[in-house]
Symmetry: C2
Subunit: 366 residues, 2 copies
C-alpha cells in the first residue's frame, strides 16, 4: 500500500472516527482504524461492533492495499503533522511508514483480515435533508432513557410512513416527539426502527451542519446512513417501542405563551438552589404572570417572575426543571407554549406555532 494524502483530509477522516472506537474493548483490533485504498480515495473505517463509521477522503493511490492502525495513536500523530502532503506506505510485514515534511513515523499495524466487515448500502433507502435529520435527532436525543432494564427506551424510535417521518424518545418522565410531513416513500414500505443512543449521538457529531442529503436504509436489524463521503452502520435495538401516543394529553387546553430565552434564564437561575437533589420547581400561573420558585431547605430559596400570556384561573404545578431546560435548549422558536390540563396531569411543551415538535413532561408533586 502506498498513498499520498493531504494532512487535513486525513485528519478529517481519522478525527471523527477515532472518537467512535473504544480503546478499552477486549478485542485489540477494535481500537484500530482500517485504512484501505479505494481509488481515488482512502477509506477510513472504525467500529465498536455497535456503531461503525467509514469515511472516504481524497487520496492519490500509488499502490493499493490496507492496514489497521491504532486509532488513538494515528489520531495523535496526524493532529500534530503540518498541513501539507502525507506519504503513507505499508510494507509486507505490516509496518506503516508515515512521512510528512521533516517528520517520519514507523508504526506496526494489524492485518485487515482481522477487521470486522462493514455492511454496504443497497441504494434502496429513503432520502432526507441532512440538516432536518440532524435536527430531529437533536430534538429527541436528550429524552432517551438511561434505564438499562427498559432497553427499548435506550434509543430513539424512527418511524417513516407514506406521509411523515417521526422521531420519539422517552424515559418515562418526559417524552420528546418531532414529526416532519414529507413524501419520501415513493416506492418503499413504511419503516420503523429504534436507533440506540450512541449511534444517534455519533450521527449528530458526524453530520456537520452542511446542506445536502442523507440516505437512510434499514437492513437486517441494522441502520445504514450514508452521505457523499460517510457511511454509518448502526445495530438497531430489537423489540417493541411502547405505545407512546397514549401519554400525549388530549385535554391540555390551558395555554401559556412565554419568551423562550427569559424562561430558560429564569429556570437556570432558580435551579441554582436545587443542588444535587431532584426537587420540584413550582410554576405558579396567574393571568399574565408566571412565578417560578424553588425551595431547598439545605440551601435557600429562589423566585423568578415572568410576564406571560395566560388567561385562565390561577394554577400551581411542579416540574423537574432539568426536563424543561433540555427542551428549551433545543427549541428554536422565539416563544414557547405550555399547555396544561390540571396540576397533576402531564403538560405539553412546544414552540409557538410549531406543530413539528412537542415535549410531554410529567408533573412533580409540590
Amino acid at each position: 500500500m502506498h498513498i499520498k494524502v493531504l494532512r487535513d483530509d486525513l485528519l478529517n477522516g481519522v478525527g471523527p472516527i477515532q472518537a467512535v472506537v473504544e480503546t478499552k474493548r477486549s478485542l485489540p483490533i477494535l481500537s484500530h482504524l482500517l485504512l484501505e485504498t479505494s481509488p481515488p480515495c482512502l477509506s477510513v473505517f472504525g467500529t465498536d461492533l455497535d456503531v461503525g463509521v467509514r469515511k472516504r477522503v481524497p487520496a492519490q493511490v500509488l499502490k493499493e492495499g490496507s492496514i489497521a492502525l491504532s486509532a488513538r495513536k494515528l489520531y495523535e500523530i496526524v493532529r500534530e503533522l503540518p498541513a501539507t502532503s502525507v506519504d503513507l506506505t505499508v510494507d509486507a510485514d505490516l509496518t506503516a511508514t508515515i512521512t510528512c515534511g521533516s517528520s517520519e513515523f514507523r508504526i506496526k499495524g494489524l492485518s485487515r483480515d482481522d477487521f470486522p466487515v462493514m455492511r454496504e448500502p443497497k441504494q434502496k433507502g429513503i432520502v432526507l435533508d441532512r440538516r432536518l435529520f440532524r435536527d430531529m435527532i437533536r430534538r429527541t436525543l436528550f429524552a432517551v432513557s438511561y434505564d438499562q432494564t427498559r432497553y427499548t427506551l435506550n434509543g430513539i424510535l424512527f418511524r417513516v410512513t407514506p406521509t411523515d417521518v417521526r422521531m420519539v424518545a422517552t424515559d418515562g418522565h418526559r417524552l420528546a416527539m418531532t414529526t416532519i410531513d414529507c413524501d419520501v416513500l415513493k416506492d418503499g414500505s413504511p419503516m420503523e426502527a429504534i436507533i440506540p443512543r450512541k449511534a444517534a449521538a455519533e450521527t449528530l457529531k458526524l453530520l456537520r451542519e452542511e446542506p445536502g442529503e442523507i440516505t437512510v436504509e434499514i437492513s437486517e436489524n441494522h441502520l445504514l446512513l450514508h452521505t457523499d463521503d460517510t457511511l454509518i452502520d448502526a445495530r438497531l435495538i430489537e423489540g417493541q417501542f411502547p405505545n407512546y401516543e397514549q401519554v400525549i394529553p388530549a385535554n391540555a387546553t390551558k395555554e401559556v405563551t412565554v419568551n423562550r430565552e427569559a424562561f430558560l434564564a429564569g429556570l437556570r437561575r432558580t435551579s441554582t438552589v436545587l443542588g444535587e437533589r431532584a426537587l420540584p420547581t413550582t410554576m405558579k400561573l396567574t393571568p399574565g404572570k408566571l412565578l417560578l420558585s424553588c425551595v431547598n431547605l439545605d440551601l435557600g430559596e429562589a423566585r423568578e417572575r415572568l410576564d406571560v400570556e395566560y388567561q385562565h384561573e390561577e394554577m400551581s404545578t411542579g416540574f423537574n426543571a432539568r426536563y424543561i431546560l433540555d427542551f428549551l435548549g433545543v427549541l428554536t422558536t422565539e416563544q414557547a407554549t405550555i399547555r396544561l390540563q390540571d396540576p397533576l396531569s402531564p403538560a405539553l411543551f412546544a414552540g409557538k406555532d410549531d406543530k413539528r415538535y412537542t415535549c410531554v413532561i410529567m408533573p412533580m408533586r409540590i
Copy 2:
C-alpha cells in the same frame, strides 16, 4: 447589611476567589466567602488557610455589615444573573436576600465571627511590575516538585537582593531560574521565601495580564501580595531551599541554536509515540542538523529532522521531552539555545540572547 452592586463587579470578586476555596474541607466555614462592607466597596474574602484572597469591588453601601455565604452557591447564582444592579440585604438571623431584575434568592449564611482573619499589609514591601512578576511565576511554576518528601521543593524560591529579583524551581530532574536586574530594595533588607505551588498558581490566575504594580511583603512566614483591588495572603514553605547554583553547569559550551516553534512542533510529534512511558527522546547533533528520535517497542518510532546552528562534533544525548516542551511552552524568544558539555552532563536551555531565563535539564541514558 444592605448594598447595591453591579452584577459584573460582584462576579469579578466572587468568581476568582471561589476557585481558591476548597469545598471538601472539614470546616464548613472554609467553603464560604466572607462578604463585608468597606465603603465605597464590598470586600470578598475566601481562604483555604494556606492561601487567602480578598478583592474589593465597587458597591453602594446602604448599611454596613458582613455575611459568609457558600462560595459555590453564590458563584452559581451570580453567574446566572443578568448584567444589571444587584441588591443584597442581610437580616438579623443571617439570611441573605439577593434581588436582581425579576429574580429573588434567599440563602442562609454564617457569621463573620467564625471566619479566619486575614493579615493586613503593612506597606513595607517591595514594588514590582505586575506583568513581570506574573511572567517570573509562569517561567518557573512547571518545574516545582510534586514529591511531598522533599517539601522545600514544593514551591518557588523567591529571592530579592539589592541588585536583582530571582525565582527558582526544581524537581531534581530539571531546574528553571529567572532573574531580573532591578533596584527595588531602596530601603529594605534582602528577602528570601519559598512560595508554595498553589499560592503561585492562584497568583498567576488572579493577576490578569494588565499593566500595573504589585507590592510584595513577607511577614511572619506569610507572603502578602497586593494590587489596587486584590490582596493575596499565602503561608510560606518553611525550610531551606537546596543550593541550586551548584547544579548549573559551568562547562556547557557547545551551543545549538534552534527555532523555538519548529523545535516545539517536532518534539510534540516525536512524543506521540511515547505513550505513557517515560522513554528518552534522542537528540543527535551533527553540524547544522538536529535529529530528534523516539523508539517505543510497543508502538513504533518517530524521527524529526531540524535545521539548527551547531558547529561542534557529532553528539547524541537523551532527554525527557516533556521537560523541554514545558520550557519551550513559556519561552517567548524566536530562537532557543541549548548549551551542552557531553551526553551525560546537564544541558542549559535558554532563549537566544535572553540572559534573564534559563532551564537546566538532566540527560537520560539512551
